[in-house]
């Protein structure tokens, strides 16, 4: 990837100052951001992701769905005169003047191997796989860096308190970005622990969808074999006909 030389309009050395003229003749104000220590001027209103691409980065890591869901583009930044560490998803966060940022495309963390059928939904099961959660000192660094605003420390502590169901529901929004694990002095890999807890909840604690179980059994018993094979035999003409009938609002009873 190529970045910042005198010819790049985003370079701080370029002749453009507080504004950039777009190809359609409009002017956009600019802000200055620093990517891994190097400064660039980018149009305000861009997301960090768009700004990185404006600068000239071609992203093959640290980018994913671009829709705030996958967690690949986690970004950390500081602001001048402020010691706090901020975090957010690059695809969702709008650039601010003075942002001093870096992307975190990957956090090393081991996921323990386990058979969910051999576990029970208790804190002891979680501790047996991830005993390091006992090292949590309550520093809250994890919560402070979570781009999804999850109460991470409280979630880990809810597990230690034995409230697996509550913990699982608290961490629904986790996108496994790993920023929490990077900051944790106890080296806890929160997102792996949370995945285990969500799985335990889903399998053992969440209320069962009875209608789903019924339907699965019906399918296994072959209730839908005949109509399905008939449909497949009859081919796409028949399907189209049926679909058109449905669109017209007619019932398919006699079919």
């Amino acid at each position: 990837m190529e970045s910042g030389n005198g010819n790049n309009p985003s370079s701080l050395k370029s002749k453009e100052h507080a504004s950039i003229e777009t190809s359609l003749g409009a002017t956009r104000r600019t802000v200055t951001i620093y990517v891994m220590g190097k400064g660039y001027r980018v149009p305000e209103g861009l997301t960090i992701l768009k700004a990185l691409e404006y600068i000239g980065y071609k992203l093959i890591r640290g980018v994913g769905c671009r829709a705030g869901f996958c967690g690949a583009c986690t970004t950390l930044w500081v602001k001048k005169g402020d010691y706090k560490l901020y975090s957010g998803l690059a695809c969702q966060t709008v650039v601010e003047d003075g942002m001093y940022l870096v992307q975190i495309p990957f956090v090393p963390a081991e996921k323990r191997k386990y058979d969910i059928n051999e576990l029970d939904p208790t804190v002891s099961s979680v501790l047996a796989l991830y005993p390091e959660i006992a090292r949590c000192i309550g520093c809250n660094a994890c919560t402070k860096v979570c781009p999804q605003n999850i109460q991470v420390m409280d979630a880990i502590q809810e597990i230690l308190r034995g409230n697996i169901a509550k913990a699982a529901r608290m961490v629904f929004d986790c996108i496994s970005c790993g920023a929490c694990s990077l900051r944790c002095p106890a080296e806890i890999k929160h997102f792996h622990v949370f995945q285990l807890v969500r799985r335990l909840y889903g399998k053992y604690l969440a209320p069962k969808a009875k209608h789903l179980e019924l339907r699965v059994r019906e399918i296994a018993d072959g209730k839908y074999e005949e109509p399905l094979s008939k449909l497949i035999e009859e081919g796409s003409e028949r399907w189209r006909g049926l679909a058109e009938k449905l669109q017209r609002g007619e019932s398919l009873e006699e079919d």
Partner: protein
Amino acid sequence: MKLLYYPGCTVKATATEYEKSAVGILKEFGIEVIELDRWICCGVYHGMTSDTAYQTVAPIRNMIWAQEQAKKLGINDVYLLTVCSMCYNTLKIANIRYNEDENIARRIRAFIDDSPEYEGKVKVIHFMQVLKDFIGYDKIKERVVNDLNGTKLAPFYGCMLLRPSIVAIDNPERPTIMQELLTVLGAEPINYPYTNQCCYGYLVTKNPELVWKRAEEITDSALSRGAKAFVTTCPLCAFNLTNGQKNAYGDVRLPVFYESELVAYALGKYEYLRQDRLELIKSIVKGD
């Protein structure tokens, strides 16, 4: 009376019978036990190095939440109840440290920037102290319906209720608070050299075989004086003594009870006892 309550992680996991009996008994004496809405693991040891503050952060967070919840509930004189003696020790010493070491207090106040400041006014107490000082042993004696039949019991204080002396709930060398309680319940507490000795605690994670030997030593001593069971306030002591006996003898010769379970039994309040624990107490008390 409203009493804020700090359970601790173990009481919620492997020592649920302790909480069930303790909270139930206090309810019987008109004390409403209110578990803290928000609490985190105390850290088990308050942190014995003076140059670091990190071990004190978790206990102080708990103090802050107790302080704030007390304000919401309109409680003025704030006591924080613990049943696990380890939690008692950790929270109490952290409290003392915060109040006596202004340097540490300042560092912690600067670090915990997401909560109100801790004013240092919460008082940490243990369940045994509530029984003796808040309720009074004579009141308990009045309500005993299942006298413990003179059964010989071995009080096992362990370390954390008695040491260091700034947190001791009784004389660290010759404690009597548990023996007095057992006598009130109609049991006969025995005198043996291990009553305030260490069960080897967390050594069980590194050298469990030494812990099993220690449990054998302690149990042999209690057995030789006719004891039928241990009485303890610490879930780790309970685990070490119970598992130690299993590993040393193959079975548990002296079951380990929490003091609250015996109080619940003696007061005839079986609803606060787990069925298997009730059966065990019955088998010990009725004599075998």
